[in-house]
Symmetry: D2
Subunit: 138 residues, 4 copies
């Protein structure tokens, strides 16, 4: 029951294609990244302008490829927080056909709360915790 409350549209570009004539695998991670950042912006946890204030760093990410994304596809990226630890959180990702709902790929990301000025991991701040649990904690 991986229903996502948050979806972000991804517009495929000609430049996303590789020699196999579908979207290159590394670009899927660009899409997961974009969805992740928009998820945080949507929750008011990052304002989109100060890159020293983004507050998290990526520890691990995985993508499982189910079907090729082609130039003509309309894609939506689902993001959902599925685990919240002391210093880290885990996000579930999905890349879906916005017209049919078919799944192109699923993924996961583990993010660590991070103080970029001090260059050190930190506990997930309380207002992040509250916001994430309110939105995706059920």
């Amino acid at each position: 029951m991986q229903e996502f409350l948050f979806y972000h549209p991804i517009v495929i570009r000609y430049g996303d294609l590789d020699a196999q004539r579908h979207v290159n695998n590394a670009r899927y991670f660009t899409f997961l990244e974009e969805a992740r950042v928009q998820y945080l912006k949507n929750l008011g946890l990052w304002d989109g302008t100060d890159f020293d204030e983004i507050g998290i760093i990526l520890l691990e990410t995985t993508c499982t490829f189910k079907a090729p994304i082609r130039y003509e596809h309309k894609v939506r990226a689902g993001v959902k927080m599925i685990k919240l630890g002391n210093k880290s959180m885990e996000l579930l990702h999905s890349l879906e056909d916005a017209e049919t709902g078919d799944t192109f790929a699923t993924g996961r990301s583990i993010l660590v709360a991070y103080d970029y000025a001090a260059e050190t991991s930190i506990p997930v701040p309380d207002h992040w915790r509250k916001t994430l649990l309110t939105y995706d904690g059920k």
Copy 2:
């Protein structure tokens, strides 16, 4: 009087930014390329699926950078055919702030009609010529 009949929206991604924290210069050419391809699709000159049937090859492209594009910007790309030769055509490009109309960059592309199967340049096909002149020939 560089008014464009054709505009295509460009959605900036976090992954388009470089170490200067604005959109990387090479990415502007990805945007010009996307606008060019969408211009051809919009005119029915390419269907977006068969990459051996795209019918043109890029000979030269230029971009003049007026203002940095940042993550928060909404961008639209204008394209206009401004010269049509026997075997080539020239496109004028613009990248603009979709909210204010301010210009981020201008550009030009010279495209040559190309037969990818035969790997040779060809005269611009008659239906291309007619379509381009009808749309942008004034």
Copy 3:
């Protein structure tokens, strides 16, 4: 015991950096991809020219980020086949500092043998199996 017989050098480009001023996470997957392709080329399993003959498709890939890669770093990518199934194989990846041996990232890829003409997965061909086991089967 993750010693790699195969290493491929990765040259960092300014264009690999993102707004955090280190190499963007999606680019790590470009490096894993490059190392994977060079591994196959090195074993004579792909000749580097015919993209319909590449013989494998990516099912899943993961990267764990240990330390940021910066513009000044010299990087080497290790690849090792660690599991060979009937239709699939698993590769272990490493991105290391070529000067100090420090690990920037580790990763895994699951590849499925694939017939691009027939668009279907196939058993790993015998000569692939023999070549992979001879090289990395110990």
Copy 4:
């Protein structure tokens, strides 16, 4: 007379290819950028670490495509300063086959001396002027 004193090797990646199965046009600009940055590093004008100290901003860049770059090609990028103004300089670019010397592309870049802290263009500093003219002023 376009002999270049400075060449920088460019290593093509599988991820540089597009649906036409040669290097994507926007990637040529990544290569010109890389060659440009390495040219400055080689002259001691930028140390490669502080992105606020890079001292120049790109005003305009052009590339003329002569022959496709394929995955198997070894590429070298030539850079030469060909004009030095009060606040700007112009660089000539070349992308060549490192094995045959054949030209894949030529290009030009106009750079403006820039103070990133003050966000304003500045006169080309004296030690830049001296260094550039000593190296490429003949």
